[in-house]
Amino acid sequence: MTTDASSQESKKRFFKDGLDSQEDSSELNLAFDNNDSILFGNRSFKNEVKIIPIDQEDNIAIDDLDENQRSTQNGFDRDEFLLQLQVIIPDIKRTEANMLYDMFKLDDNCIEKAIEYYFEISSKMDKGKVDNNMENDNDDGGEDVIILASSSSPDTSMKSSQQSQKISFGSVTSKKRLSSFEVFSQKKPKLEVRWKRFIGSLQVNAMATRPTTKPLKYGTKLKLVKPNSNVIPSKLYSDSGKKKKALSSYIKVFDMSNNREIGKIPEDIAQIIYPLLEKQEISFLLTLVYCDNKRLSIGDTFVLQLDCFLTNLIFDDEIISTSSSQENISSEFDKSSQDHIENQLEIENRASRLSHLALFKKLNLFPIIDEQKELKKIEELNDTVRDVIDLDDEIIYDNSNEIPMEEEGDKENVDHSLNLNQLMAFYNVTQSGNSLLNLPETQPSKDIFKLELRRYQKQGLSWMLLREQEYDKVSKYEYDSDKNATTMNPLWKQFKWPNDMSWDGQRNKESNSNYPDGLFFYANIHSGKYSMEKPTLKSLVKGGILSDEMGLGKTISTLATIFSAPFDREEKNHNELFIKERTTNNSFDSEIICKPYAYRTTLVVVPTSLLMQWSSEFEKSKNGDDIYSEIYYGGNVTSLKSLLTKTKNPPTAVFTTYGIVQNEWTRISKNTSNNSEALSGLFSVQFFRIVLDEGHIIRNRSTITSKAIMNLSSKRKWILTGTPIINRLDDIYSLVKFLGLEPWSQIGYWKSFVSEPFEKKDFKSAFDVVNSILSPVLLRRTKQMKDIDGKPLVELPLKEIFIEDIELSALQNKVYKYFLDRAESSVREGLAHGDLLKKYSTILVHILRLRQICCDVRLLGTKDDNDEDVNSNNQVVSDSVDVNKILKDLKHTTRNALNQDEITELSDKIQLKYFENGKLKSNECPICTTEPIDANNIIFTECGHCFCESCLQEYFDFQVQKKLETKCPNCRQIISTNRVLKLNHDTVENEPIELYCPTQKSAKIEALLKHLKVIQDQSAGEQIVIFSQFSSYLDILEQDLNEALSTKETIIYKFDGRLSLKERSTVLKEFTTKDLTKQKILLLSLKAGGVGLNLTCSSHAFMMDPWWSPSMEDQAIDRIHRIGQSSNVKVVRFIVQGSIEEKMLKIQERKRTIGEAMDVDEDDRRKRRIEDIKMLFE
């Protein structure tokens, strides 16, 4: 038993102590008489072991142990085993211990295994509460599991007090636990039906299979029998649990009095009843109600009343079903111990679950939606009589059941048309209703956190701390386990016991008195578990999803949490504690690796663009110098591990990006051995807490990033995302998996409860489950939500979005038409051949070209790395050649240009006239009277006059528009745009003057310039954000704006994916600093800057081009329109009239209304795509 990790150490040493002390058994026995409580987990307890006897009986029993049971195999005998077990689990029962001994005596690490096994069961019991005492009891059991799993030493003082409390319950709970144990250890307990309670009656038309000699009497007791009870289930059911054969032939109706077969029941009933018949969980009572008073011959029908009862077994038994394969708890132990469970059993279990469901439906037992309402109704309708349900007639509802039925129906109708937006609204409702209003407000103390939180942020902080179980940090919050316990496990449904309408019940009122009271029972229809007590949901996951809408301050709330709980208090005293961590990745699957626990560090994983923002927010909010953060680029810290675990004051937060996590992960997985990163990087430690900002990045679980993130380990996990669902419901799965929400983090579970129902269009149940999974761990507030006082959470200034129609310039139009023709013919061809989707990428390129032309013809030549539409596609290459040709052609059409001789001649003339000592003389532009004309901006006419380029261009445009001749404004000589010269800046020496090529600015840029001028005129020193998705367009914009605007008045910044981290932060810093004399313009790539950035300094935004998904654009606009914005926000979206852009708007509109969640399967998505394309080219 050598130990390398401290986690192991503590646990194993623990056992060793027991072993060592075996000679001192007398001392231990002495200790039994001492009723002091032990300090469980006290590391120094070796010399002062004190054991509390649980109850007297057990205590004596231990003394009475039979020496003969001593097993010599590994030096353990029963006594020793029991003693040790009791040291570790003070409240274990003797019978339980004995059973464990029997199970594990042959094992090498028998005690360890036994303990694991024990807690395994406790944790399971935790899920299906039996009674209140159990609940308390199991709370501890559950905690113990955590503690053992992570091997942190438990909080001693608290523990001991709780334990002593537990002891008082011990005797009460013993029976229950006992029974569960017996079943578990495969000793079939004697099943005894102590009571049964009526749940409903069916009227069944049975068919006689044997003739009777005389008419059967009204009220004859009958029974259902399986004649060949040894039929193998696999013959009856296929693997999926569906039945293969008609089951009606396997169930016969027998006369109780003479045990003789009479008939059989119809197939639909037989199907339901067959799997349940021999289980005794549900008992059936059969009474003849009608047989026409004559002798039955074969084929005659007779009518039976089938009373159904739930017996105590189904409730006692709940833990058995938990342990069966249905609940796939992923512990090693479970796997090994359950390997022997036959597949047949699984099939049977499944069949019986389905039967339960079907039976409940037949009996019209429906879950209660609102308990309070139901209780009231019961009072009102206390004496309503329930009828027997006649299957042949229309179903008659009991009054008390009628209303829930209707509600159910209504809900179903509504839910069938659920779309993404509704889903969002759906969890809005669940969140806003209770959690928001009732949450206390916590403001972290000023000593640690400088910023003042808003009210809802304080509530958010409370929620986050509660999720992390830092109860004492939440102000005005008293930890109340009862209060927490009232949230019912959402997988369970509440049912009301119906009035007893059974044959016996109606005739013999006394007979039913032996069942327990209570109005309700609970059933988990998914797993077939039942309980008399309300099953509560206890999530062991520390962390959750903070899904506040963009701009509500998720970052601040998270930082407040980090500052409020900067380290793991349980771990504070043990610097060198190591933990055992099983990674989920396959390569490490069987391997157990040990990671040091960086208990004082929170890892924050953010998109690259937000790295600096997080870091600066951290600095802004912290108070005190001993708290600091580190940015981790991978290379900048030699050994993250030693920084975090060896140094005295490790950083409270480490910021890194998804890219770095992914890089490190790929390197590690490629080369598992001798990798320094594996030993010292992000994956080498277990963090105290991990926060994923913009956590929807991991939504696709097959991406490397997502896989890498899953392999980071920490005790507490948070996901921040404003949009938990981007495209599909399954997006949530990755988040659930990251958080480790059992059992949903297992894909099988998720698939069968969420994906499959959803694909079958059973939206209601899918959403119900999603909601039940998420509601405890997800907090979402929207800007529209109201706080307790009915005020909106955030009052943001007005946001106005204008769509400005743009008309293409002549050149653009020509090119656009050309490309449109090609695209249309390509689509037509695709539609005609039916292989549109094969050509999808080609068409995408076509569409891309059209979109580019709408922006600027010059974009055509460029290759944009940032645009994902164009992959490495041969099509693109040939296409770009094409583009150049077209542009060239278009240029050639400009006839009559100056030839080289003329240029040289003119050049000399101009030099003579305008240059002095090689320098341009000062000239006034006759049009705008600017003096001198900027050398970059000067152009010369054929007749030797000079103007500003823009002035002359404007003149040309004006004249052309008015259909007037273009004459030199100075000398009235006819001039033309093709015969104009400008200075050549590249080669000043050789060829100072070259032919001016009229770069007609794109229509959008012209429009943008106009807007910029207006803004500048109205108020100087504004900050303006310009979005585009094409980073090469940003380049063009930068160039054009620089030319058109004077540098005295304007500064242009560009922010796109090509910027390094440092550059990003400088750009943002400079841009956000207000300068009253200068208009600051930020050219922002939609992809690089669409998320996370805070640009509230600006209140003007221009969207140069539309994007497919409206939410992308909303995100972008929210960079500006968010908390901190003080003035009204104006957004102008440039859309080219009658172009593909207008159609994109339509598609956006559709996406907004339908929501993409409805694209359930690949086929639908494909259809949708074809529709999209058709729509674009119609």
Binding site: F958, P969, R972, D1017
Partner: protein
């Protein structure tokens, strides 16, 4: 109203700082594109000693488009009609953005000095002018006496 282009401001300043002899032009207080203009009748012309009021308006497209100028004072001239509209090529087809308020007003002054009855705007005046130039000039002088006396 959109802001005033720099060129207009510059021209206005120059008209004040460096006035053209015999011509004044002052922008209106409410509308800087609207000018009140006076032109003295050129010497040795029928309009000598007369001071003529004009109005001048710079349209939005100025300087791409010519300014609008009109006589407010009654004048007997073959190229100026009863409403004061002026027939002058630089105000119409021959406008060039290189021209300015100053040059336009100088052109009008020149038009007063040399009426061109062959390209008339006021047909009746032009007819008189061609039929009997001296009596027409007399009438112009009379009108100048009558209507274009400088305000004291």
């Amino acid at each position: 109203m959109s802001s005033l282009p720099k060129r207009i401001i510059k021209e206005t300043e120059r008209l004040v700082s460096d006035p053209v002899p015999g011509i004044t032009a002052e922008p209106h207080d409410d509308n800087l594109r609207y000018f009140e203009v006076t032109i003295e009748g050129p010497q040795q012309s029928p309009y000598e000693n007369g001071v003529f009021d004009l109005e001048l308006f710079l349209p939005d497209d100025y300087p791409m488009e010519a300014p609008k100028v009109r006589f407010l004072t009654k004048i007997y001239h073959p190229n100026i009609d009863r409403l004061g509209r002026i027939c002058l090529d630089v105000l119409k087809t021959n406008w060039s953005p290189a021209l300015q308020i100053r040059t336009v007003l100088l052109s009008i002054q020149a038009l007063l000095a040399s009426p061109n009855p062959n390209d008339p705007l006021a047909n009746d005046v032009a007819e008189d002018w061609i039929k009997d130039e001296s009596s027409a000039i007399d009438k112009a002088k009379q009108w100048t006496q009558l209507y274009a006396q400088p305000k004291k």
